[in-house]
Amino acid sequence: MKTLTARRFRNSGIAIVAALLLVWLSGAMTTALRDTARQTGWILFSMICFLAAYNLRKKLPFLPLGASATWLQFHIYVGLLTAVVFGVHVGWRIPNGLVESLLATLYLFVFASGVIGLFLSRSLAKRLTTRGDEVLFERIPVYRNRLQAEVETIVFEELDEAASTAVAQFYADRLRPFFAQTRNFWQHLVQSNRSRFGLLNEMQAYRRYLNDAERETMARLVTCVEAKDDLDYQFSLQATLKYWLFVHVPLTYALLVFAILHLLLVSAYSGGIS
């Protein structure tokens, strides 16, 4: 079994050689006064069709169409190679004209979303193992509700037993909104613990107003806050890993539609030039 690093070097090497070959060939053809736009356009369109076909492969897991991981490797490196083909196709300049500009913008968005997706897939997966228990994304609301119910039980127990409403008041003011829904989505994504520490410091500072029994209750609430924050962390990262595809895939379909329109227009207005 090859190591993943070795595979990365091999595939990157192949992609770089292919890119250099393409640039050299295009340059040679241009020197020979040949128009390369048609050839590179068809190559780019074929590459985009192939990249879009990966989604189809995912929908047909029961067919012997090869491993999804192999498809993803081709998807990544062919996808990266499209940037070079795109550059050669547009002559390394910003396209003019409405359809071309829109098409180029769409391509750049799809390309960028793909690269960002790749980065997220590689980095967030690792980060998910560093905090909190492994949870299924669909079960997170259930765990959150359970945690909120647990916290409310603790607070109401305290309210029944103690004469003071200090803990209950703190819960109502500061903790109820925290437990009611997912919090600090973006902070978790950029790995900031600012809000977590802020809330925990606030709880620590509030201890001075509490008696021994209430402090004990507060300590239990601290554990719940940490668990909820870990759950939010899991939600934030898992949601990002799931939802970036909701940007990448629809944009790809839009790109395909515009690419076909572009092909039709080019063919219609080519004036018979081969």
Partner: protein, 573 residues
């Protein structure tokens, strides 16, 4: 003074094999052979002959055609023909077809059938075609509940068409599989009305201990039928001729270490928290001791460990067919001074081992191979399943190895491992599994995690499949082609024996529905029909396990835990 709850100390026969054995049955059995001529004085203390017969046996009455055991089944009992006779299928020319034995024939979907899953998959969970349960005319079943039996509908045709041998009253069968914890080697069915005495392995073991003739008989049968074949198939002896193999067979020592019901004990232990102290594991060979011979694991699993500070560090594990002690014998033979064992070997649960004495290894193996060739080839191997039980400690963390061994995950031939550093939780694996199983995923992407590797809750397709032991109809079986452990939905009676026995909770009982979404119910009590379900490793799909093929990030693998080298490579990739 501390308070504690107390119970009566559990006794050997607290749970008898059958509650239906009466004293009259025992008295009758004591008048027939071999029990009539057993020396009663050799049964002392609590383990008496009537006690064994009452608690470790049960009478099974078969009608003509009833299948007693199937080739490939796993069982923990042997049989004695009390009256009548049974036939054993010899299978030299043609074997009985899977369908009439109540097994699911291996049917791989065609390309069109595969594509048709796109629109044919049901929207309701666990939908079945009710017609399939109305009976395959080729499968005969009789009896109810755990007494359900599959029977051959036309015994005379089977006798004409297939080669069989008769086992008459007074003869044993099934003892090798019961004692060796190996699959049944042949199918046995009743030719006419027959009475059998089924003896669970504990009773058989006690009878053998107290009756030399029985011991010798079973020993001889084992050596002739099973051990010879086993040694011939062991890679290091494959080049030897018949004479040498016979000599090895005669000199070999066969031992069982550990508890037969290790799965049950392990489940109880796991509930309390796994004990990391190896002292409770039966020692097969100890580090530092003289090397008596090569130890070959015939069935079960064994832990390889070395002393480390005040404990023992697991350095590998042995699965069936793997050997221990050969390196020390070779080193001793090459250096002309005996070398002590460098590792300890312990049974994990249960291990049946064959020991070939050192002098036989030296004479039959080393002297014929030659010093130069041995020195050159030592440590060289290309087969990933070959004798490489030691894990390269520089490449794989010892806590990960301990985790795999302690939790018995090494029992798997297709353990689902997920690298959580690469898994994006996209659930493509779960969706792929559902798509290939009529929209019913057959595993959970959940499970214990060690060193960021998750062992997901999916059938491991165990080397030692304890789930198969108590299945009354043989519905759960190992496919002859491919070796996957699968369930025949049509012959599963929903008794949950397999699900209760599974160590890894990988078998789920489900209530099945028909196409309109309503539960299928039995015609008497109108209770829903339950079926056991589990991962079948996509044995009917083109291209193999869909979960592994669907993982975009190379995070999921179905790992054969016998392939230590492959495991290490995957872990350190």
């Amino acid at each position: 003074m501390p308070t504690f709850e107390s119970i009566q100390r559990p006794e050997r026969w607290a749970v008898p094999f059958s509650t239906e054995m009466t004293d009259a049955d025992v008295d009758r059995l004591l008048t027939i052979e071999p029990f009539a001529s057993l020396d009663a004085t050799r049964f002392r203390g609590k383990v008496t002959l009537p006690g064994i017969l009452k608690n470790d046996t049960r009478l099974v009455r078969c009608q003509p055609g009833d299948i007693v055991v199937r080739q490939g089944d796993w069982g923990n009992s042997a049989f004695l023909v009390v009256a009548g006779n049974v036939r054993v299928e010899l299978g030299s020319a043609a074997s009985l077809p899977s369908e009439i034995l109540g097994r699911q024939p291996v049917h791989r979907k065609s390309l069109f059938e595969s594509i048709a899953q796109l629109w044919r998959n049901s929207s309701d969970p666990e939908v079945r075609e009710i017609a399939a349960y109305r009976g395959d005319p080729r499968i005969g079943t009789r009896g109810t509940g755990e007494q359900t039996r599959i029977y051959l509908q036309d015994v005379s045709t089977v006798l004409d068409k297939y080669q069989t041998a008769t086992i008459e009253a007074g003869q044993f069968f099934g003892e090798s599989a019961a004692l060796g914890r190996t699959p049944r080697s042949a199918t046995v069915f009743a030719e006419r009305s027959t009475e059998l005495l089924e003896i669970r392995w504990q009773g058989l073991r006690d009878l053998m201990r107290r009756d030399d003739a029985l011991q010798q008989h079973i020993d001889a049968v084992f050596r002739e039928r099973a051990l010879k074949l086993f040694l011939m198939n062991t890679p290091i002896f494959q080049h030897l001729g018949t004479t040498e193999i016979t000599e090895l067979t005669e000199g070999a020592k066969f031992e069982t270490h550990g508890q037969y019901d290790w799965a049950g004990s392990f489940k109880r232990l796991a509930k309390k928290g796994i004990d990391t102290d190896l002292q409770h594991e039966p020692l097969i060979a100890e580090e530092g001791n003289h090397t008596n011979g090569v130890i070959i694991v015939r069935s079960g699993l064994a832990r390889l460990s070395r002393r480390h500070e005040h404990g023992h560090q697991t350095t590998g594990y042995l699965t069936p067919g793997q050997i221990f002690g050969l390196d020390e014998i070779i080193d001793g033979w090459l250096g002309k001074t005996p070398k002590p064992l460098t590792h300890s070997l312990r049974a994990i649960g249960i291990a049946n081992v064959v020991t070939i004495p050192t002098h036989l290894i030296e004479r039959l193996l080393l002297e014929t191979t030659g010093r130069r060739s041995l020195a050159r080839n030592k440590a060289k191997t290309t087969d990933p399943l070959a004798n490489q039980p030691k894990i390269d400690a520089t490449r794989i963390n010892s806590d990960f190895v301990e985790f795999l061994v302690e939790n018995r995950y090494i029992n798997g031939t297709a353990t689902m491992l997920i690298d959580m550093d690469r898994c994006t939780r996209c659930d493509d694996c779960v969706r792929a599994c559902a798509s290939t199983h009529d929209n019913n995923p057959r595993f959970l992407r959940q499970g214990p995690i060690q060193n960021n590797i998750m062992v997901a809750n999916a059938c491991l397709h165990c080397e030692d499949p304890v789930c198969m032991i108590e299945c009354p109809t043989g519905a759960i079986h190992r496919q002859m082609e491919g070796g996957q452990v699968v369930i025949n939905d049509e012959t599963c009676i929903g008794c949950s024996a397999c699900a209760n026995n599974c160590l890894y909770n990988a078998i789920r009982m489900v209530d099945v529905r028909h196409e309109d979404g309503d539960f299928i119910r039995d015609d008497r009590k109108h209770a829903p029909i339950a079926k056991a379900t589990k991962c079948d490793l996509c044995s009917d799909q083109l291209g193999g396990p869909a979960c592994q093929r669907a993982c975009p990030h190379d995070a999921l693998i179905r790992m054969d835990m016998r392939a230590v080298q492959q495991l290490t490579d995957w872990y350190t990739r």
